[in-house]
């Protein structure tokens, strides 16, 4: 087992960097290759939607719960979807118990914004009765094993969870909500499929999907959320700087690789069919 708490040695660092300079990575990938994706859906019986996503050794389990509440006054006919993330201490010796730290806040925020701004969720479908009752969805991401690039794994995980969801359908009767017996499913709720792609930068070299050793020596990262033809969210983090050319190139790459990944993963296969 790798002891990821130790400082990565200079030798190891140089080894990673030298490989990168030759456009090779220590796990054999090219600069623009993702690690292998594995996706399971609807594994949590207690949740109204769930996904178990592995990206290489990184593993993330996400579940959806709902409540029915009053809408915000400025959008009286729209429901709400919130994303929370927790980095479980069992996932890595680097994670500590306690209230959410910066890394878990970033994970939740980037995934949340990727969804929110991409017209991903049809919030009007989450309205039961204008001004009175809407669905509040909680998409909660738990990191089970940490091996780099939580954001992309978390994004796919949240998306799969939403697609796989199945929420009791309510209607407004007199002054309260009653169950129709039917369900709202991911097919109804989800429209766009935004993909979030994270690029690492070490020295002058940029690559996709940092593995753990790469992430630990990264100077910086950029996460870009894309729909089929639009960029919907960008987040730069870490102390690296990026040239304007880099940024243009990365957004183009994100669009390209995002479309590829969307096709390959074919997330609609995880929707639930209800007779």
């Amino acid at each position: 087992m790798m002891n990821i708490r130790r400082v990565i040695s200079k030798i190891e660092r140089n080894y990673i960097i030298n490989n990168l300079k030759n456009e090779e990575r220590i796990d054999g990938r090219g600069l623009w290759d993702y690690r292998e994706w594995k996706i399971k859906h609807n594994l949590v019986a207690s949740a109204e939607g769930s996904a178990d996503v592995c990206l290489g050794d990184t593993r993330v389990i996400t579940g959806l719960k709902y409540e029915v509440g009053e809408p915000f006054p400025d959008v009286p006919d729209e429901g709400v979807c919130t994303v929370m993330a927790e980095l479980l201490p069992l996932a890595s010796p680097l994670f500590e118990r306690g209230p959410p730290d910066e890394q878990s806040i970033e994970l939740a925020r980037v995934v949340d914004r990727g969804i929110r701004h991409a017209d991903c969720i049809q919030t009007k479908k989450l309205c039961i009765k204008e001004n009175q009752a809407v669905y509040i969805l909680f998409v909660d991401i738990y990191v089970i094993n940490y091996s780099g690039n939580l954001i992309d794994a978390g994004g796919i995980s949240a998306l799969t969870t939403l697609i796989s969801s199945q929420i009791p359908e309510g209607k407004w009767v007199d002054d309260h909500v009653e169950w129709t017996g039917g369900y709202l499913t991911g097919e109804t709720i989800v429209k766009e499929l935004p993909i979030v792609l994270t690029f690492g930068k070490i020295g002058d070299i940029i690559f996709i999907d940092p593995s753990l050793p790469e992430e630990l020596i990264c100077d910086g990262r950029i996460s870009i959320s894309v729909t089929k033809d639009k960029i919907t969210s960008i987040q730069k983090s870490g102390p690296a700087t990026f040239s304007i050319d880099d940024i243009q190139m990365l957004n183009k790459k994100a669009m390209e690789l995002g479309n590829l990944l969307r096709d390959n993963l074919n997330l609609w296969q995880y929707k639930v069919n209800i007779e």
């Binding site: 949590v44 207690s46 949740a47 109204e48 389990i61 579940g63 719960k65 069992l90 010796p93 094993n145």
Partner: protein, 255 residues
């Protein structure tokens, strides 16, 4: 705002054919699946499915104690952190750990500690993280059972494994291994655990209503069920070592 659907319980917990609602006999366990060594950052780990329960356990240690002042000069300390995912239950649980989670963490700590040789590790800590991703009754027993496997997987010297199960009373009948709905709608629930090195009880809780005779029956039933689960634990450990052996066996699967 009332919730759309209530968490309602059936009036009867037995079917007309005398079986339990999930088709089990009185003394029948739910299906159990155990896997060892599934998380590669931890010193030891295990995964369990038990009915609809889905639980991960990971062990770190012996390692430095944080915060320092908890360290003991004459022995290591064992700390167990039992947590439930927000979506593991019918109504979303709040993310922060609650009183119930802290109490169960303590119960499991007390249950596992007797099998360890903490006196050999002064100044250090063993930390066991247990995360329930899906809950369906008996999570403290399932958590204890999977945590014992994670400790073993970490190669920490142990006097024996620990195994846990609940027995209880539903609709007046005594049954083994209560499901979620049986736990909530039933009359009594007795989670217990055994430390095999001395065959004594190291976890015992009860809430409900029983007389002394019923207690005797409960304990007898529990012992049979515990043995059955113990075998599964041993097999899970063995199959991991077999897997490892195969890996080192020149890459060839043994015939």
């Amino acid at each position: 705002m009332t919730l759309l659907i209530k968490d309602e319980y059936p009036e009867k917990l037995f079917r007309e054919d005398g079986k339990r609602l999930d088709g089990r006999d009185l003394k029948e366990l739910r299906p159990i699946k155990l896997e060892v060594g599934i998380l590669n950052n931890a010193d030891g780990s295990a995964y369990l499915e038990w009915g609809n329960n889905k639980i991960f356990a990971a062990v770190y240690g012996p390692r430095e104690v944080h915060p320092h002042h908890l360290a003991k000069p004459d022995k290591g300390i064992l700390r167990v952190f039992y947590r439930m995912a927000t979506f593991s239950v019918f109504e979303r649980k709040r993310p922060a750990p609650g009183r119930r989670e802290k109490e169960i963490s303590m119960i499991i700590t007390d249950c596992l500690e007797p099998v360890l040789f903490l006196e050999l590790y002064p100044g250090t800590s063993f930390e066991v993280f247990i995360d329930v991703l899906d809950a369906d009754g008996g999570t403290r027993c399932a958590s204890t059972t999977v945590a014992a496997l994670a400790l073993a997987d970490a190669g920490i010297p142990m006097k024996s494994l620990v195994t846990s199960v609940a027995v209880g009373k539903i609709d007046g009948k005594i049954v083994v291994d209560l499901s979620g709905v049986e736990d909530k709608a039933g009359e009594a629930d007795l989670p217990c655990a055994i430390t095999w090195f001395n065959e004594e009880i190291s976890l015992l809780q009860f809430d409900g209503d029983m007389d002394l005779n019923e207690l005797d029956t409960f304990l007898k039933l529990a012992k049979d069920a515990l043995k059955e689960i113990y075998e599964m634990q041993l097999n899970a450990l063995k199959s991991k070592y077999i897997t490892i052996q195969e890996k080192y066996n020149g890459g060839q699967v043994k015939q």
